[in-house]
Each structure stands twice: as structure tokens, then as C-alpha cells.
């Protein structure tokens, strides 16, 4: 073993037998010997093979066990002498090792503390102690110069505490600039609710599922940024760990969040009633009395298929309807009686009263022909005059080529009321009268250019106005006042000027397959209904696109409950016309998925007629 390079702290007693010197003894730990003697033989450690039991026995039996120490240098046990034990005790107590040492001996000055008149040393003072220092002078002059030049300033009096004064002593309104008005103040912190309480009502505590959901949510998604908790007393409430976080987030919000003024609509949750918009008139008729005054039971109960169309005579006394069973029935509204039943001889597609009050004539489409019927109802003079008018026809000299045949009725038919037969080449879909009552138009279920025909009843003369087909014609109508003619095809409504014989307008309906069309009596507005349950409303003065599109019914065909709409195109130009649904009329039972088939207003009275698939006609007031 190599001697230790570090000098160990001195060990007072150098054992003679220790030949290895002052080295860490653990180097010899695994060897049976410690060092070598002069002959080069190993010096063995004393044998120490005592186990625990031996040690214990020795401890018990040996009276000097307590003063036996192991010498690390040699590995031998040494029994301390009495003096040595005494020394250990003294050292443990913090006393000096030497018994005879007196720590409190009287202090003796080695030099007098009294001030003497003579100096201690006799050395004369230096010369430099009598003359001012040059270095100091230099330094001072530098400082003086710096002060003169203003490089060094006198120290400011230290004052940490900020001074406050009345900052807002002179508030002048002029100091509120536009900047302050434009300033968007940060929204205040949200005030805490019941759930934030340290002792909230039990319903605000989260159940286990809610808690799980809360934990799984993203921090930004959570509705509450804490879990409500209940503590039994104030003492038990711990510190909120995220307090500093929240303050910091608030700070970040204050200076990093973009601010924006948002216009909030302060809408009342109730939808604005149409009547609140300054519209109060139309309530009276449908609203005053909810229900049917009059129930017209059309046919025997076994008959289920039904009236297609209701029409009311212009004078308002008679209504009439027709049905798929091939009859036309005339009703008197006042008495609710069926006045007359005409077998038409085929499925009736459409009926129309002559709008002229002096003529008592009904046009009826039966399969391929249009019948002009004089119902012989009402004023005798009136229907007599009508018959006369029809009979006064004088055939022209030269026969003109016509698209249809005008056939006067046979005697048998005449007795039933039929006056004229207009035979078309194909089935007729619709017939409509001109406002004057002389002309009428019919629509043929054809795809050619002869879909629309215009007839003049007094001259028994017909013509096909169009040279070219422009799609399937659904509906045709005359303008009530001016010489215009509306033709509704599946997508468009075309407006023709009958005098100039030209197309004036093409209205885009934006709906799929126009089903019906109606013109306002003043002629400025058109409403088109379509199979995709829309109502397109055109103002002819404005544009060719719908002024308003209304989504109405869920079903397209037999809508179970007709919606009565009020249409008030105001004569006043300043006020916008309105289209307002006013009332839902109920009453018809739904049969074969068909509800109401047709609705009609009475020309003079505030009455509405509706015919339903259940075989009734109902009158609403």
C-alpha cells in the first residue's frame, strides 16, 4: 500500500508496532495483517472472530467493557486507564484537558493604559505630513471641475413614497375627447353565482357524471372554470390554487383581447304579430267567428271524390260546384240548398261564372269540350236576356278555319241548360273568363302551340294566340282591367299585351312547377302558388322577380288547413303592400290524403268558401 498523499491530522500516540504509518486503515481491511516488521514478516492483526453473541457475553461479563476501546491502528483492544477516562470526561464537559490549567488568571497589562506625555517612539514626523497632498488636490480639483461643468449633480433627496394630490380638482368637460368616447371599456368580471359559494345549495354541486364530463372537457369549453364544492365551515375552505392564474388571465384579456362593439338585437322573444305592425283591419272577419256557419253537404255519404272547384256567381247569390262524378251542382248560399244538378257527361275539370253581372252563363270544362251553360237560376229577366244574346248570333258568310268546333246544344241538352258546346281536339284543363264577360280562354292538355285558346262567345269564334309552345301551360288569366293576358307555364309567368299582340313581361317565379295563379282585382299584383309549397308574389310595377317568397304548407297538394292570407296592396304608394297570413281555417276532414281542394272569396260578402275532399263545402265568415 502506498502511503497517503494527504497528511492526516496528527494522532498523538504513535504505536511502535504500527509500521504502516498514518494511512487510512481501511486499506488493510481485507487483509489479516497490518504492515510488516523489520524482517519483512507480516504483522498479524489480533484475531477478532467474535460474533454478536460473544460480544454480548463479553459486554455482560467484562466489568471493564465500558472502558475498552479498539485501537484502529493496530486493531488491538486497549483498556483505558483512570487518568485517560478522566480526560475523556473533562473533554466531554468542555473543560480543559489539563487539570491544573487555570483559565481565570488575573490579566496583566503588557502596556500601560494611562496616557503618557512622551511619545512611545522617538521618530520625528515626516515632511509630507506637514504639506497638503498633491494627489488629493488633483482629485479635488477634478471633482470641482466636474461640479462646475455640471457633470456631477447633488444627490436627489430620496423619496420612495409617491405623493398624491387631487388629480381631478379641475374637471373640465373639454378634456373628454373623441378618444374617450370611442373607447370601449373592458367588460367587467363576471359576478359569481350560487355555485361558486363555499357552501352552495346542494343542487349546484356536480353529480359524478357531470364531474366526469367536466374533467373531460377542454378548459376553454367548460361552462364553469371550477368545480363547485361544499365545505362545512369557513375554517375548512382552502386557498384557491388558480387565483393568480385568473388574475393574470384577466390582465391578458385587458391588454391583448381585441375589443369590438357588438350591436345586440334587443328583440322580444315573441314574434312580432302582423297586427302589431300597424295592421288591424283584417282581423274582423275570420277572427270574430271561428267557424262554419254553413255546411254544404255535397253528395250522398258514399261519394267520396269530390268537387274540384267552387265558383260563385258574380251577384253572389248562387254558388256552384262540380265533381268528378260528372255533375255540376248549383247551390243557393242563403238557404244552403242544392238548386240544380246537371249531369255533365264526363269528369268536370273546371267551372267559371261569367263575371258580367248582366249575363247568366257558366263555362264548364268536360273532357274535350267547354260547355256554356245557362243555369236558369235567379232573375228570370237575366237568364232570358242571356239566352236571347246567345241566340242573336248570326253565322258569318264565309266559314273561317277555327281550331275548335262551336256546336249549338241539342234540344235535350238545351232543356238541361246547356247552350253551346265548344269542342276541342284534346281534353280541356281550365277555363277562365275575361272581365267583360265576352271572351274566355281555355287551356288544353296538349304540348303543342295550341295549348291556350281564346274564344269569343258572342261571335262564336276562337283563335290560338301563340305560334310556338313555351312549355306546359298551367294556368291562364285575363288582366281584370287592361288588355293583358297572363300565361303561367311551369317556371314562368308570361304577360302578353293582347292589343299589341306581343310579350310584355316574363316573370321568374323561382319555384318548381307553378300550380296556381291569382291576380289582384287592381291588376298590379300577382301571386303564384307552386307545388313546392311556396307563394311567389310579384309586383308588376317593380320587377320580374318575386317581391316576396312565402313558404307555406308542408304538403303540396291537399293542404289540410288552408291559410287565409290577407293581401293589402295599399293604394297609397308610400306604404308597402303587405302579404300577411291571417287565419288558419280548420274543419275539413282529411280523406285520401287530400284536405281542402279549393278556396274562394265571396265577391261582396266577407265570406270564404272552401271545398274539401271529404265531400263538403264550407262557408267561413
Amino acid at each position: 500500500p502506498v502511503p497517503s498523499p494527504h497528511p492526516r491530522p496528527s494522532i498523538p500516540l504513535q504505536d511502535i508496532r504500527n509500521t504502516v504509518g498514518n494511512i487510512p486503515m481501511e486499506w488493510y481491511q481485507d487483509f489479516p495483517h497490518i504492515g510488516y516488521n523489520l524482517d519483512g514478516k507480516k504483522i498479524y492483526k489480533p484475531i477478532r472472530s467474535k460474533d454478536e453473541l460473544d460480544m454480548f457475553l463479553e459486554k455482560m461479563e467484562n466489568p471493564d467493557y465500558w472502558r475498552t476501546v479498539q485501537d484502529k491502528m493496530t486493531g488491538a483492544d486497549i483498556k483505558l486507564t483512570d487518568e485517560q477516562v478522566e480526560l475523556v470526561h473533562r473533554l466531554q464537559k468542555g473543560q480543559f484537558g489539563d487539570i491544573h490549567f487555570n483559565p481565570y488568571e488575573p490579566a496583566v497589562d503588557f502596556f500601560t493604559h494611562e496616557v503618557m506625555i512622551h511619545p512611545v517612539t522617538n521618530r520625528p514626523a515626516d515632511k509630507r505630513s506637514f504639506i497638503p497632498s498633491l494627489i488629493e488636490k488633483e482629485k479635488v480639483s477634478k471633482l470641482v471641475h466636474a461640479i462646475k461643468m455640471g457633470w456631477i449633480k447633488p444627490r436627489k433627496p430620496k423619496d420612495d413614497t409617491p405623493t398624491y394630490y387631487d388629480l381631478w380638482a379641475h374637471e373640465d368637460p373639454n378634456s373628454i375627447l373623441g378618444r374617450h368616447k370611442m373607447h370601449v371599456p373592458a367588460p367587467k368580471m363576471k359576478l359569481p353565482g350560487h355555485e361558486e359559494s363555499y357552501n352552495p345549495p346542494p343542487e349546484y354541486l356536480l353529480s359524478e357524471e357531470e364531474q366526469l364530463a367536466w374533467e373531460q372537457q377542454e378548459a376553454a369549453e367548460r361552462k364553469l372554470n371550477f368545480v363547485p364544492q361544499q365545505y362545512r365551515c369557513l375554517r375548512a375552505v382552502p386557498a384557491y390554487t388558480r387565483f393568480i392564474h385568473e388574475r393574470f388571465e384577466r390582465c391578458l384579456d385587458l391588454y391583448l383581447c381585441p375589443r369590438q362593439r357588438k350591436m345586440r338585437v334587443r328583440a322580444s322573444p315573441t314574434p312580432p304579430s302582423p297586427f302589431q305592425r300597424g295592421l288591424c283591419l283584417p282581423r274582423c272577419h275570420p277572427a270574430s267567428q271561428g267557424h262554419t256557419l254553413l255546411l254544404l253537404k255535397a253528395r250522398s255519404p258514399s261519394l267520396t271524390l269530390l268537387s274540384w272547384d267552387g265558383a260563385i256567381s258574380p251577384s253572389g247569390s248562387g254558388a256552384h260546384d262540380r265533381s268528378d262524378d260528372g255533375t255540376v251542382r248549383f247551390w243557393e248560399v242563403c238557404t244552403a240548398r242544392c238548386m240544380k244538378t246537371l249531369p255533365a257527361g264526363g269528369v268536370v275539370k273546371s267551372v267559371a261564372w261569367n263575371p258580367n253581372p248582366t249575363i247568366c252563363l257558366v263555362a264548364v270544362c268536360v273532357e274535350q269540350s267547354v260547355l256554356l251553360i245557362n243555369p236558369c237560376l235567379g232573375d228570370k229577366l237575366l237568364y232570358g236576356a242571356t239566352d236571347q244574346l246567345l241566340e242573336s248570333y248570326v253565322a258569318p258568310e264565309e266559314e273561317r278555319v277555327q281550331p275548335v268546333h262551336w256546336v249549338p246544344a241539342s234540344a235535350e241538352e238545351h232543356a238541361r241548360g246547356v247552350r253551346l258546346l265548344v269542342q276541342h281536339s284534346k281534353a280541356v284543363k281550365q277555363v277562365t273568363w275575361h272581365g267583360k264577360g265576352d271572351y274566355f280562354a281555355s287551356v288544353v292538355a296538349d304540348s303543342g302551340n295550341r295549348q291556350v285558346l281564346i274564344h269569343q262567345s258572342s261571335k262564336r269564334w276562337s283563335q290560338s294566340p301563340f305560334r310556338k309552345s313555351r312549355g306546359l301551360v298551367q294556368r291562364v288569366l285575363f288582366h281584370p282591367l287592361r288588355p293583358y293576358f297572363f300565361v303561367a307555364t311551369q317556371r314562368y309567368v308570361r304577360v302578353y299585351n293582347l292589343l299589341k299582340q306581343e310579350l310584355t313581361k316574363k316573370l321568374m317565379t323561382n319555384c318548381k312547377w307553378v300550380s296556381s295563379m291569382a291576380v289582384h282585382p287592381a291588376g298590379d299584383n300577382i301571386i303564384c302558388g307552386s307545388y313546392d309549397s311556396k307563394l311567389a308574389w310579384f309586383d308588376l310595377d317593380l320587377s320580374t322577380r318575386p317581391y316576396q317568397l312565402l313558404r307555406t304548407w308542408r304538403g303540396d297538394w291537399g293542404y289540410p288547413n288552408p291559410v287565409l292570407t290577407h293581401f293589402s296592396p295599399c293604394s297609397d304608394l308610400l306604404q308597402n303592400p303587405l302579404l300577411v297570413p291571417v287565419k288558419v281555417l280548420k274543419g275539413h276532414a282529411v280523406t285520401l290524403d287530400l284536405g281542402v281542394l279549393d278556396v274562394l272569396f265571396h265577391p261582396t260578402q266577407p265570406w270564404v268558401f272552401s271545398s274539401g275532399a271529404d265531400g263538403t263545402i264550407r262557408l267561413y265568415t
Partner: protein, 553 residues
């Protein structure tokens, strides 16, 4: 960034994000050019630059080891003041009061920070001083209105010159400082807030005729002097501590005279009816009553209750308060004082009870303040299961869920007899449920009514056909149809509503649907809470029954 914080410049959301952001919609913050230009004219920018130079010089001196220079530089550290910025941001005092919420919360938080690291000791001391001054002002003006013990901290709301000022203080525990918080940002905010709060405090003290660096009333000051003559702490420190004890009133510039309290002259405001006047007068009276809620009561705080908030609240409402002398300076009377009326205790049992005083849990003080009346003490005895602590900041609108405790409280405030609370409560609960049901019913009604009418019509038709069949026409006595007016009206309304919805434009309809959705969600939530409560109540009842049975058996 610092400048933006100090000057209160915030980013704006551009109207056309793509236009501003060169076509991309990536999230970026946009400032108004005007605002940034405005920042450039700020004189404090120069101060910041000076400070930067100072830091550079100091670093250099350190590096060279020129200690003399370091000292000199440190002596001449550039400082800046934010006074003009405060004035500029808040041209009127009311503006400043409106923005006081965050300032107060921040100051209260900073004043609880330890004085080691994190931020300057001076800042913390200043915050503490300002916060204590503000508390003293609130006591002197008695402007505290609401308090709330939340799990986050204690919320206070005071009405300062008509402006509600809300702040939150954390519970007094050591903070474990989070690592992901930038303390420099917070320190910048605090820098501004302390300036603001200082000026606001000054103004507020002067509005009450108090001296501004607040001085404790001379008489009280003498009382507060430690009797032993031993200096408790250094003068400046003890001053703040005495102030923060919140137990002494403050010195006034003009000593108040008892005759000062003359009734205010009444100036009728034009266009105000007598009714309104009465209403206002009543309100005023109620407010006055609320302010003097604890007048004449003497409280003693046990050492386990949080001293500062309770002392503050009690003093705000005119009560007298004291605590153990060893707990804090400023105790005015001892536990053994016989005139004590309430002792606030927060331990399950009190060993030696003195007759003639209530032993109460601290929640009583908070609840009483919120209820604006001294609540019955029975619910708040030590060891008793406390009633829930409700938030005073919630004002329930119609249709919102109201916890039954709140209903009870409202009834109590109206002055109704709390004796029949139970039944009332139940009734009200039932009412609530009914209300909820109504909404559902309405929806159903429409369909029902349709069906009913159809049935009626069918009957009528049958009658008619029958009468037709039986040819000898017979007039049967008509049945008087009783019309349910209300029902009809409801039907009418619902129908009108549906028609109106049909009429709405697309945008309006969208909005309407959104509103209705929100409403429905609200109702759903309220229902959920009510159901939860009901379940809880039944569970509690069951348990009670069980325990009763167990006791009997």
C-alpha cells in the same frame, strides 16, 4: 407592451379580416394605426429609453467592478410618474371609479404576496397601504353593500359615489406561485393601478373630509398605544398595522359635531310624482337601515376566524369589534367583557360559554349583510349544519331557477312570518313546477284543440244527417257549448304566433329560433336544477325518517 398596458391601448377586431391580413384569416392581433401613433407622442417613452440606458450603464459598471460608479448610478436611477396618464385615461373621477374593480383586486392580491422575490418589496408595501386605506374609506363612508364567500376568495361590493365597485380578495394562505404566469405583466398593471388607486383614495378621503395620509383618531390612538411602553415595532410599520387593524376611526379635517346630522332638505325633482318620491324615500330609508345593520352590537372574533374581513364587514355596518390581544394590534376589549353581544366562533364546540351572548359561525355575518337584516341566529350556532350560502350578485329573472332558500329569504325580507315557511316553500315549489309544465302544455294544446274541434264538427254533422234522415223535421234542443274563454284566447294567441313566425323574414326567423333555443335551454337547466333539488330533498327526508325509526326502535 408596457406602454400599451399603461396607456390602455387594446387591439381591435378588423371589419374585414381578409382585407387587412393580406388575404389570410390566420389569427393575428390588430391595433389601430391611430392608437400606435398616439403612443409615440407619449413623453414616458423617453423615460423608458433613459431607463434602458441606465440599465446598460449599470451592467457595464458592474462588469468593470467600478463600485463607486455603481453607487452613483444607483443613486440617480431614473424614475417616472404615471399621473398624467391616469388623468388622460380617466378625464373625470367617475370614469376612474368605473375602472376600479380590477385595480382593487390586483392590489389586494399583491398585498398578500410574500416579500421575497417575485416583485419589489416596495410595490407590495404600497399595495398593502393603498388597500388598507381603501378599506378604511369604505368603513368611514359605510358604503359596503354585498359580500360573498366563494371558493375562490371573498367578494365585496361597495357603492362608491353611486358606482358599484366589486373586488375579490384571496383567502389568507401562502400562494404557491405558478410558473406559467408572467409576473412582469402583472407588475406593470399593478404599477398603473397603484397610481390610480392612490389618487382615487386621496379624492375619496377628501370627499369625506378625512385627512389623506389617513391618521387614526387622536383619542383612539392613545388607546391603541401599547400599555407596557415597549416599542412594538418601528413607527412607520406600526402605523400601517394600526391602520390595518381597522378598529379605529379616522381623524377628520373638521371635527364632526353631533348636530351635524340635519335632515336633508327635499328638493322635488321636476317631472316626478309623489309616488316616485315616496318610493325613493322608502329606498333611502332602507339603505340607511342597511347601513346601520350592526349598530350597537359588540362582536368578538375568536382567533380561528379570518380577522380582517370580518372586522371590516362588521365595522362597515356600524358594529363594534374586538379580538384577542395577542392576535393583532388594535383589540379594544377583552373576551370577558360582559357587553359583548355576539362572539364569532368557527369551531365545532365552545368550551366555556358566557351567558348573554350569541356564539355564531362567521357565515351569519355574511348572510345578514346580504339579507339586509339580522337573520335568526338559530341556524348559525357552532357545530350546526349551516344553511347554504347564496350569492347576492344573482338577481333571478322570471323563469330562472330560484333555490328555495332564496325564496325563504325573500319572504323574510318582505316581512312575512317565517313560521309557515315550510308550507310556503312547498307551495312555491309547486308553483314553479306548474310554470314549467305550462310551457309544455301550450305546445300540446294546439294539437289537442284541433282534434277536439274536429270531433265536435263530426258530431254536428252526424246530428244533421240524422235529422235529414228522419224526415219529419224535428228541432232538438241545442246544447249550450261552454266556451273556455281563456283557452280560446290562448289558442288564438298561439295561432297568431305561428302565423307571425310564418311571416318572418329569413334573418328574423333565424334570430327568433336562436332566442327560442336559448330560452328553452334556460328552462331545461332550471328544470334540471329543480329536479336535482327535489331528489336531494327526498333523500334527506328519507334519511331523517330512517334515523327517527332507528331512534324509536
Amino acid at each position: 407592451r408596457r406602454l400599451c398596458i399603461l396607456k390602455g391601448i387594446y387591439p381591435h377586431e378588423p371589419k374585414h379580416k381578409k382585407k387587412v391580413n393580406k388575404g389570410s384569416t390566420a389569427p393575428r392581433t390588430f391595433y389601430l394605426l391611430k392608437d400606435i401613433k398616439f403612443l409615440l407622442h407619449e413623453p414616458i417613452v423617453n423615460k423608458f429609453r433613459e431607463y434602458k440606458v441606465f440599465v446598460r450603464k449599470l451592467r457595464k459598471a458592474y462588469g468593470k467592478g467600478e463600485w463607486g460608479t455603481v453607487d452613483r448610478l444607483k443613486d440617480n436611477k431614473p424614475t417616472y410618474k404615471l399621473d398624467h396618464i391616469v388623468k388622460e385615461r380617466y378625464p373625470t373621477f367617475v370614469d376612474a371609479l368605473r375602472d376600479l374593480d380590477d385595480a382593487l383586486s390586483m392590489c389586494f392580491l399583491f398585498s398578500t404576496f410574500p416579500r421575497t422575490g417575485k416583485c419589489h418589496v416596495q410595490t407590495i408595501q404600497l399595495c398593502r397601504r393603498l388597500a388598507v386605506e381603501f378599506l378604511n374609506y369604505v368603513i368611514a363612508s359605510r358604503s359596503l353593500r354585498k359580500v360573498f364567500l366563494s371558493i375562490k376568495g371573498i367578494y365585496y361590493q361597495a357603492e362608491v359615489l353611486g358606482q358599484p365597485v366589486t373586488w375579490i380578495t384571496p383567502y389568507t394562505f401562502a400562494h404557491d406561485h405558478p410558473t406559467d404566469v408572467d409576473y412582469r405583466v402583472m407588475a406593470t398593471f399593478t404599477e398603473f393601478y397603484t397610481t390610480l388607486l392612490g389618487f382615487v383614495n386621496f379624492r375619496l378621503y377628501h370627499s369625506l373630509n378625512l385627512l389623506y395620509p389617513p391618521k387614526i383618531d387622536g383619542q383612539a390612538d392613545v388607546e391603541l398605544k401599547p400599555v407596557e411602553g415597549k416599542e412594538y415595532a418601528m413607527d412607520s410599520e406600526s402605523y400601517l398595522e394600526k391602520l390595518s387593524a381597522l378598529s379605529a376611526s379616522l381623524a377628520r379635517v373638521v371635527a364632526p359635531t353631533p348636530e351635524d346630522e340635519v335632515e336633508m332638505d327635499e328638493f322635488p325633482v321636476e317631472g316626478e310624482t309623489a309616488e316616485q318620491m315616496d318610493l325613493r324615500k322608502k329606498e333611502q330609508e332602507a339603505l340607511e337601515k342597511h347601513k346601520n345593520l350592526f349598530e350597537g352590537l359588540r362582536f368578538f372574533l375568536n382567533r380561528e376566524v379570518p380577522r380582517e374581513p370580518l372586522a371590516f364587514i362588521i365595522r362597515c355596518f356600524g358594529g363594534q369589534v374586538s379580538w384577542d390581544k395577542s392576535l393583532c394590534i388594535g383589540a379594544t376589549y377583552d373576551v370577558s367583557d360582559p357587553s359583548i353581544t355576539h362572539q364569532i366562533v368557527d369551531r365545532p364546540r365552545v368550551q366555556q360559554q358566557v351567558v348573554g351572548r350569541y356564539y355564531l359561525q362567521p357565515q351569519w355575518v355574511f348572510d345578514s349583510v346580504n339579507a339586509k337584516l339580522c337573520l335568526p341566529v338559530a341556524d348559525y350556532f357552532p357545530g350546526v349544519l349551516l344553511p347554504p350560502h347564496l350569492s347576492p350578485f344573482v338577481t333571478e329573472q322570471e323563469g330562472d331557477y330560484i333555490p328555495p332558500e332564496k325564496l325563504k329569504l325573500l319572504a323574510m325580507q318582505r316581512g312575512e312570518n317565517p313560521g309557515d315557511e315550510e308550507s310556503e316553500e312547498e307551495e312555491e315549489e309547486e308553483e314553479e313546477e306548474e310554470e314549467d309544465d305550462n310551457d309544455k302544455e301550450e305546445e300540446e294544446e294546439e294539437d289537442e284543440s284541433e282534434k277536439e274541434e274536429e270531433v265536435k264538427l263530426k258530431k254536428m254533422e252526424e246530428q244533421k244527417t240524422q235529422s235529414n234522415k228522419a224526415l219529419p223535421v224535428k228541432v232538438t234542443a241545442g246544447k249550450l257549448r261552454l266556451e273556455d274563454r281563456q283557452r280560446l284566447e290562448q289558442e288564438q294567441q298561439s295561432e297568431e304566433k305561428r302565423l307571425a313566425i310564418m311571416m318572418m323574414k329569413k334573418r328574423e326567423k333565424y334570430l327568433y329560433k336562436k332566442i327560442m333555443f336559448g330560452k328553452k335551454r334556460k328552462i331545461r337547466e332550471a328544470n334540471k336544477l329543480a329536479a336535482k333539488r327535489k331528489a336531494h330533498d327526498t333523500a334527506v327526508k328519507e334519511e331523517k325518517k330512517k334515523s327517527k325509526k332507528a331512534r324509536r326502535a
